[in-house]
Symmetry: C2
Subunit: 77 residues, 2 copies
DNA sequence: CGTGTAAGGAATTCTGACACG
DNA sequence: CGTGTAAGGAATTCTGACACG
């Protein structure tokens, strides 16, 4: 994981989502950002892509549990 | 510049250099990181590459002024 | 000249919780 | 369930300066 370099602030800018939303997706085990020594999250572009997709699916009516299932079965994310 | 996303802390890790060195190369106009609203520097991979090259050249005996000239003439960096 | 460091401040991020629904 | 927010703390980064050489 040499490519997780964005702070949550960058992700916030790129996606337009709130820190709360971004952290929540992690809490629900949908994204797995790295951590610095200090404990801050570090995201990759791939994570940003996932986060966008998750938010999109949620808007479409799915819940985080379904998204997790879907990932397991179809390995799409 | 959508790809300047690393904090100086990340660059420090990737290059093994000190913040002082990294900032100094900017002061000497050898690298041009972006800035967040808050004022922190944001580096791209390209910047990291330049920083490594600069440090290498300095070890070889060049000074920052020469490095700036070289860049202008040969457009290598 | 290139780099170290202590100084004080400002911006960032973290966690756990209460809230709504 | 997904998200907002106020709370207090910890880690990060910033600038300007003094130091050495």
């Amino acid at each position: 994981m040499d490519n997780q370099l964005m702070s949550i602030g960058m992700v916030k800018e790129l996606t337009g989502l709130s820190e709360r939303q971004i952290r929540y997706y992690e809490e629900r085990q949908l994204v797995f950002p790295a951590r610095t020594k200090g404990g801050s999250r570090r995201y990759s572009y791939e994570d940003v892509r996932k986060i966008r997709e998750i938010n999109q699916k949620l808007k479409e009516g799915f819940n985080t549990f379904e998204l997790k299932e879907k990932r397991g079965k179809k390995n799409l994310m």
